[in-house]
């Protein structure tokens, strides 16, 4: 028989219903979103209003940038726990460079220079991670956890932990201006992330990222440099975190040592729920987008129904565990039906 694409079989079951079943089972986040979002819209007042959706997108922008970066690092078979540190460190350094003394450095560097500088700082941190992980062969978990702690600590140094309010107008401009009812932060974050999702699936470097994550030895034996590929992944991850540092500070019009506190957990929840395999080489960024939308929606809903802040983390954690259980159940079901995960 000639090989033909798409002759995947669901244990001999065919027809439109089976097709829907296949789609649902092969796309981890889809069924959850398909159930959760209409449910939220129906049960939670104000959820499905334009204003709330604008809010939802705005609050998911930062999470989206960080999750996309960490996801790309994870697809190479590594892990990047440092994005929260990069966000907070880059925004504090940049605020310090922009602000007049005594709180700033006194050089009052132009925001036009500071924005690319913040992103470059993130890329530099990412490349440092890559050098430690792949160049020196240190465990990625240890390296990036250490980097997280180091950067969270270092973020306090420039301004002596003082929160910087009222950043230069040019720097915060994106936080105050809209296009077609969309905040610039949303537009920047989503445009970049959607472009990345396409890039990862259809570019040569993107293919190499999957190859390195799938079998690093095979990649090397076929002339793909694991070091370069992993450096690209960590560089993107750091760059997106630097970008998130800017957008987050612009949104709040302030830079604080505590900015982004605890987002690491949400980032990894979004990645796992989005279907990125912990072992590397599997999953895609569209799924991560779904994971981000789901988690942001949950937070949004918890706010809308005014859950006692005391229980917020408890409920949030429980919901995430539930979502992950559903993902695992899906995987079991898919393999019971003999469904094959589609190749990259």
């Amino acid at each position: 028989m000639l090989p033909t694409p798409d002759n995947m079989k669901l244990s001999g079951v065919n027809g439109p219903l089976a097709d829907i079943g296949k789609t649902v089972l092969l796309n981890p986040i889809l069924p959850i979103l398909a159930i959760a979002l209409p449910l939220f819209a129906a049960l939670v007042p104000f959820y499905a209003t334009t204003m709330n959706l604008q809010n939802l997108l705005l609050s998911s922008s930062i999470l989206l940038l960080l999750s996309y970066g960490s996801a790309i690092a994870m697809i190479t078979g590594n892990i990047d726990l440092s994005v929260e540190g990069t966000l907070s460190f880059s925004s504090m350094v940049i605020a310090w460079l922009m602000m007049p003394a005594p709180i700033g450095a006194g050089i009052e560097l132009s925001p036009l220079a500071c924005i690319p500088l913040g992103i470059a700082l993130g890329v530099g941190i990412g490349l440092t991670n890559a050098f430690l992980v792949q160049g020196l062969g240190v465990n990625a978990f240890i390296v990036t956890l250490g980097m997280l702690l180091t950067l969270k600590g270092a973020a306090a140094i420039p301004t002596q932990a003082t929160t910087v309010y009222t950043l230069p107008a040019l720097y915060s401009w994106v936080g105050y201006n809209n296009v077609l009812g969309m905040n610039w932060i949303v537009i920047i974050a989503f445009t970049i992330c959607l472009a990345l999702a396409i890039w990862l699936k259809s570019s040569i470097v993107g293919r190499h990222i999957y190859a390195v994550g799938g079998n690093v030895e095979a990649a090397r034996e076929n002339g793909i440099s694991p070091f370069k590929t992993i450096a690209v992944a960590y560089g993107i991850s750091g760059g997106l975190a630097g970008l998130a540092g800017w957008l987050n500070a612009a949104r709040l019009d302030s830079a604080s040592v505590n900015s982004g506190d605890g987002i690491t957990f949400t980032v990894f929840a979004a990645i796992i729920i989005g279907g990125i395999g912990l072992g590397g080489g599997s999953g895609g960024l569209w799924g991560v987008l779904g994971g981000v939308i789901l988690l942001s929606s949950i937070d949004n809903v918890l706010n809308l129904v005014a859950v006692n802040p005391l229980y917020l983390n408890f409920v949030r954690g429980g919901v995430i565990i539930l979502a992950i259980l559903l993902i695992v159940a899906r995987q079991r079901l898919a393999s019971r039906f003999g469904l094959q995960e589609k190749a990259v």
Partner: protein, 254 residues
Amino acid sequence: MTAFLSIKDVSKSFGGVAALKNVSFDLAGGESIALMGGNGAGKSTLVSLLAGLQRPDSGSICIEGVDRALSDPQQSRDFGVETVFQDLALCPNLNAPGNLFLGRELYRGIWPFRILDRKEMERVTIATLLELGVKVPDMTTQTNRFSGGQRQALSFARAVRGNSKLLILDEPTAALGVEESANVVRTVQRLRRERNISVLLITHNLEEMRSIADRAVVLRRGENVGSVMLSETSDDEIVARITGSFSARAGEAA
């Protein structure tokens, strides 16, 4: 015949262990050599040098008369040296075309807007596999769903696609069943006949050695202890050379 591949005084050490000591031999165009030797004889090290994965500490590797300082697998491939690695070097998460074009993906468009040309890669993959007489179930399936024979065939197809001049086979049938092994042997024989391809075969199997190779180079503890024509050499002598009992018994310098 001029030598296609000429290995001269190649040495390679790892830490204090000398994996290869001044190994030299030539391989003529269209010739097929079996590289024999026990475990730790240096066969795999030699393969990794030829594949461009590592560089020799000293000595030279000449391809078609020119000293090539191979430092990258891509270079080896550019000179027509293709390797089927013992681990097959497949990415389990990629499909057949993804693996066949691993590291040399086809693309459309100009930088920085190059995108993978999936259709063309799939077309060439199907054509290459058909030419080798291989049935592959599905072009979208991840290769971790392939059987051992299919995985072997895919790795093989990758190595013989295009204009490969030297095919390095590192224990190609070690993980295969009887029928699949026979297939590999038949395919190599056919490629030699039809395309005059040179082969460097690493194997422990004497029968396979005889059905593919013209000559055997025996490595022992990193040294070349004999380069013999198989038509003039008995299996016993090959084994004796591999185990190191040959020179003592025959009183002949290795």
